[in-house]
Each structure stands twice: as C-alpha cells, then as structure tokens.
Amino acid sequence: MVQRLVVRLGRRKTAWEKTDPREIADVEFQDRSTGGLDLRPSVYVITAEPADLRPLVVRVRAEHSASFMSPPRPVGTLEFNVDGATTAQLQPSAGETKFQYANSIHAELLLQSIDELLALIATLRLERDARAISVSGNDVLAYVDARQAANDPEWTAIVGPAGAEQGEWGAAVVSFRRKRDNAG
C-alpha cells in the first residue's frame, strides 16, 4: 500500500538536542536568504510503497544537498517526517534544486504564526522516535555513486562522469569516496 512522508530536511543534528522549541526553530526553520524565521518551510512530499520510502528520502537529501550545501559534502543529517504533525496547509510549489524529481515533490507548509511553528516543533520532539529519519554521509555517497554509474545526466552535470569528476561537488565526492574506501 502506498504511503506518504512529508520530509523536512534537517540542518543541524544538535538543534534537536535542545529542549526549547524557540531555539530549535531558530536553527532548523531559519530562512537561508534572510536569516529570519521561515513560516513557509520547504518540505518534500514522498509517496511510495513502504520499501521505497527510505531510498527516496536519501535521494531527496542527496539532490537537495548537491543543490544547496556549501561547502559541498555528503554528510549525516537528521530529517523529520512532519506529515500529520501540524494542521498547516501543504501547498505544492516549484522547488529550486537542480533536480527534476526533488523539484516535482517540493511543497511548503503554510504556517500561520510562530506559535504554530513552535507547536509543530514540540510535536516533532515528542514523537521523535516515529518521525526522525537519519541519513548518513555514506548513504548519500552511495546514491551519488549509483547515479554516476548510471550516467544520470542531472548528476553528471554536477559531479561529472565517473572517473572525470569536475566542479566543487565532483572534487568533494572524489575526496570522500577515496577516504571511505581507505577506511573500509
């Protein structure tokens, strides 16, 4: 049976160690361009068979990171499924990543007030075990490996073809891949 996740990608794992929702909001719901609070936070709506949900979360994380993370690196993160955690309206909106899939499932939560945001955070803290989704750097790197091997044009545009990596993300992927392989 098809299930749905509404995934809010995390910024700092340590933010969720805090107990004050206001401090969590200041980090996890901070607008990248203004530094202010974002009452229309971006989310990704993933609809799939249960077995496919987690791989799609990894895909979205990888695509989002490759579009926005600076400096580039495949890194472990803590995401949250916010589906049902708020009554805020979910509005599909054009994503701004470099990937068609992530853009196609992008949406915004239309929070009406700071209090509504803080209530959402309180719910996520309370239901953390059921809602938190941990994605490791190796998950992201393995996904990039697979897309490069498949000659995915969106990924090769960012990291270059396998063996001829280019750009910031290409260099980062090569570096992390070498270190991972040495460690393994």
Binding site: V27, G35, S113, N182
Partner: protein, 156 residues
C-alpha cells in the same frame, strides 16, 4: 552570549525577524505580525544570513572571519552557519584560526558548525585534526561527537 541565549531575547528576536523579513513572493499568505520585542540585539538590524555568509566566503573572506571572531555579535543560530560557510575559504590557516576557538563554544550548534567548517581543511591542517581528536573524549553532545567522528573516520 548569555544575553543572546536568554528566552526573552530569543522571543524578541523571533518577533522582530518576522517583521523585518522580506516576503515579496509570499504576500498571499496571512501571517501573524507580532509586535517587535523590546530587547532587540544589534545584529537583528544587520541582514545577515546563511546565503550572505557563503557570499562573504567567496568574495570577502576577511569580513566573514571578522564576524566569526567577534562571535558575541552573532547569535549561535547564525554563528553555526557562518562557521560552516568559512569552510569554503581557501586559506586554511585563516579558517583554522577562526574556527578552532568555536570548538569550545558553549552551544553545541556552534560546535557542530565549526566541525563542518573545518572538515574541508583537515587534510591540510594537523592542528585542526589534533583539535578534533582531542575533543572527542570530552564532547558531551551526541550530535557534535557524531560529526567529529564522521570527519575523523574518513581521514584515519
């Protein structure tokens, strides 16, 4: 830093930011506009953001490092992204000099950001590697410890 971290100043900040924030693309959404708090911090009036930190790293690294070094001017939620953005600066000595002090910051969010900023420079900086190795045993935050271990694991 204690003043910035207090609940009162955070609420004042949150309220003020909602008023200060440009919302040109989003005017159709009704948004509560609480009154500006009485305890505005000086940095609230300066439009600093993650995207601006990244631009500083690329175009004016000295400005970014200056902001980080005067970290009492940045609340932890901004300082963590300033630290991460500093990782883009090519001058390893400059980055390491600015970020090592943040590894001892009281707020784990700042320490996590400092680890991310140092990560691209770990191969080039023995000082940074040793600093991260020495902090693992005493680091109380699981999130920071995980970030440090991830950074070091791929080097060892």
């Amino acid at each position: 830093m204690a003043r910035v971290n207090s609940a009162a100043s955070i609420e004042g900040y949150l309220s003020a930011r909602m008023l200060a924030r440009p919302r040109l693309r989003r005017v159709e959404t009704p948004v509560e506009t609480p009154a500006i708090g009485a305890s505005l911090e000086p940095q609230v009036l300066e439009d600093l953001s993650e995207e601006k930190f990244v631009r500083f790293a690329e175009q004016d690294p000295a400005r970014l490092v200056e902001l980080i070094r005067s970290n009492s001017l940045l609340r932890p939620a901004l300082l963590t992204f300033a630290a991460e953005a500093a990782g883009r600066i090519a001058n390893t000595a400059l980055v390491v000099g600015a970020l090592l002090p943040l590894l001892g910051h009281a707020d784990p969010v700042v320490r996590e950001g400092a680890v991310y900023g140092l990560e691209p420079h770990l191969e080039a900086s023995l000082e940074a590697r040793e600093a991260l190795r020495s902090m693992v045993a005493r680091e109380p935050s699981p999130g920071v410890k995980a970030a440090v271990n991830d950074a070091l694991a791929i080097l060892d």
